[in-house]
């Protein structure tokens, strides 16, 4: 049962083949068995999960059959959960028990999903390997010497190793899609503003977006149905009706125009990933799609613009951690300034401090035009490239990452790590929906395929991903050490 998709679990729960309590207990047992090795969860909520599962079973017995009722999920530890520790992977918040639920959490609670716990992540979502977590690195279940990607690495591993049926994540520069690629699962970032950011601890507010990590595009559609929508508590959430994203999954792709950016098949792309994606594109041709090479001429500037916009916004957002109202405070401060400085220096890890420094510099007097304003202009150029491309094609497809999961501890230089997100970052800068789905294997490790749509083309992106998964079984490949039912 643990290998089943959310859609299949819903059928099984409805048929009475299994109860939510039994299913929840199975996942909790697996977490007990494997989390020591994988480090995917920071907090496990066994008692409350079993209570939620019991309630779900009672509701179902009374005739309720909403799709996520009683389905066990994990939340990235960036979402505030009322009464449950919410650390954001940081020493700064290691003892922070959120006093309210994030809107995303509230929506899953209302849908009757069962929260198994909170997943590990790069500190404040700043990282592409899950090595910056205060709670230690997460291990990739395909090879525990390797990283799972980041920053939503704990969520990706929890799904890949069947330590939950589905998980939430957030994506500021690739933090859902890249770990999904490295772990061989499906990870979807909706358009900016589609999902509420309320109660999601802020990193870079003009880029952050929540989304699902799960086994299939169909599951992603089921989860997005719950997550999406206007929230008056988030002034950047978009007032646009939420579609039923499952309704168009089965649409034919005959006549679909796929754009393949030449910049995503250039220097730096490893041969195994390139070959896998080219073969996956042939599947689309078999489905009646046409492939055209497209040009995203400013793509090469996306990483540099991002490393101004994201740190600048982060430096402002993270100024709230001052040791006064919640979270970590240093011991025996001599005075107020000493308290601020030591609290922040001891509470934040190296990468977070580095980005705060870069952001502070970019926003400091005399540098604003040269950095932040310049980056916003580049952002316009990047967005315009996509607008031009979507005049010609329906979706854009390429690799999610230039390579497969790398070994823990091998990328110590920040700039090398920043280039990890070279294919995903532009999508955040432009606010577009993007998904990563398993497209094959290279050297025994999963390869992710990146499908990008125009503004609010969530349904199209999910449809294109789902049709591939109807033709292939890459999304069913499991890491053998953790994939078996215990």
């Amino acid at each position: 049962m643990i290998e089943k998709t959310v859609a299949e679990i819903a059928v099984a729960l409805n048929a009475g083949d299994i109860s939510s309590v039994e299913l929840t207990q199975t996942y909790l047992d697996r977490i007990t068995q494997f989390n020591g090795e994988l480090n995917a969860y920071i907090t496990v909520c066994a008692d409350s999960a079993l209570r939620q599962a019991k309630t779900a079973d009672e509701k179902r017995a009374k005739g309720s059959n909403s799709p996520l009722l009683g389905v066990p999920l994990a939340h990235k530890d960036i979402f505030c959960t009322n009464g449950v520790t919410t650390t954001c992977g940081s020493r700064m918040l290691h003892n922070f028990v959120a006093p309210y639920d994030a809107t995303v959490v509230e929506k899953f609670n209302d849908a009757g999903a069962v929260m198994l716990g909170k997943t590990n992540m790069d500190e404040f979502a700043m990282g592409s390997s899950n090595e910056t977590s205060f709670f230690g690195p997460v291990k990739n279940p395909w090879d525990t010497k390797r990283v799972p990607g980041g920053s939503s690495g704990g969520s990706a591993v929890a799904v890949a190793a069947d330590l939950c049926a589905m998980a939430t994540g957030t994506d500021t520069g690739g933090s859902i899609r890249q770990p999904a690629a490295f772990c061989g699962i499906t990870g979807f970032k909706p358009s900016y503003g589609r999902v509420s950011r309320w109660g999601m601890i802020a990193f870079a507010s003009s880029l952050d977006q929540a989304g699902p990590l799960c086994k299939t595009a169909e599951d992603a559609a089921l989860m997005t149905n719950v997550m999406a929508g206007l929230d008056k508590k988030d002034s950047t959430s978009i007032d646009k009706p939420v579609e039923d994203y499952t309704a168009s999954l089965s649409n034919s792709l005959d006549g679909l125009k796929i754009g393949v950016p030449k910049q995503h098949f250039a220097e730096g792309l490893t041969a195994g990933v390139e070959q896998t994606i080219r073969e996956a594109l042939k599947e689309y041709e078999n489905l009646g799609a046409t492939i055209t090479e497209i040009d995203l001429p400013n793509n090469h500037l996306s990483v540099s613009a991002y490393y101004v916009v994201a740190p600048a916004e982060a430096s402002a957002n993270l100024s709230r951690y001052d040791g006064v109202r919640y979270g970590y405070r240093c011991e025996d401060p001599a005075d107020l300034e000493d308290m601020y400085k030591r609290t922040r220096s001891e509470g934040f890890g190296e990468e977070v401090k580095r980005r705060i420094m870069v952001g502070t510099y970019a926003l400091s007097a005399g540098f604003y035009d040269a950095y932040y304003r310049k980056a916003q202009k580049i952002r316009r150029l990047i967005k315009n490239d996509f607008i031009d491309a979507f005049d010609e094609v329906d979706v854009i497809i390429g690799p999610t990452s230039p390579h497969t999961a790398f070994e823990i501890g091998t990328k110590t230089d920040p700039v090398t790590m920043y280039l990890e997100d070279i294919y995903t970052i532009a999508v955040n800068l432009a606010g577009l929906p993007g998904i990563s789905i398993p497209a094959g294997m290279a050297d025994g490790l999963p390869v992710g395929m990146h499908i990008v749509g125009s503004d609010f083309a969530e349904a199209k992106v999910l449809n294109v991903a789902h049709q591939f998964q109807q033709q292939t079984d890459w999304h069913q490949h499991k890491p053998t050490a953790f994939g078996k039912e215990n």
Binding site: V97, P99, S191, Y192, G193, S206, K232, S235, T236, I238, D239, N298, L301, V303, S304, A305, Y307, V308, S315, S319, D322, G323, V324, R325, Y326, G327, R329, A334, D335, L336, E337, M339, Y340, R342, R344, S345, R354, M357, V358, T360, Y361, S364, Y371, K374, A375, Q376, K377, I378, R379, R380, L381, K383, D413, P414, V415, Y418, N428, L429, G431, L432
Partner: protein
């Protein structure tokens, strides 16, 4: 653009971060590397380009100024490192 030690100290102070003498060298070189990456932006002329602040060019949505939620001070103050009588306590500021 390369940073020198005094600039690193100034930025650290603005960000209210403490950087020790031994750390300063490493921080300086890493941030200089990052600024070199960022400086790739300067290769493109953007004189006539309108900055993009919001990916959808959306405007701030306004709402009526009404009370929508009640703040539970006790719940919030129980999270503080030090709070008493409805106040957040910090080291003495005025002698």
């Amino acid at each position: 653009m390369a940073l020198d030690k005094s600039e690193v100290e100034k930025i650290a102070h603005l960000a209210r971060l403490h950087i020790s003498r031994t750390e300063a060298e490493g921080v300086m070189s890493r941030i200089t590397d990052i600024l070199a990456l960022i400086d790739q932006m300067q290769t493109v002329n953007t004189d006539d380009i309108e900055p993009l602040a919001h990916p959808l060019d959306a405007l701030q949505r306004l709402r009526a100024d009404e009370v929508t939620e009640v703040i539970h001070y006790d719940d919030l103050q129980s999270l503080a490192p030090e709070a008493r009588d409805g106040l957040y306590l910090v080291p003495k500021v005025i002698e």
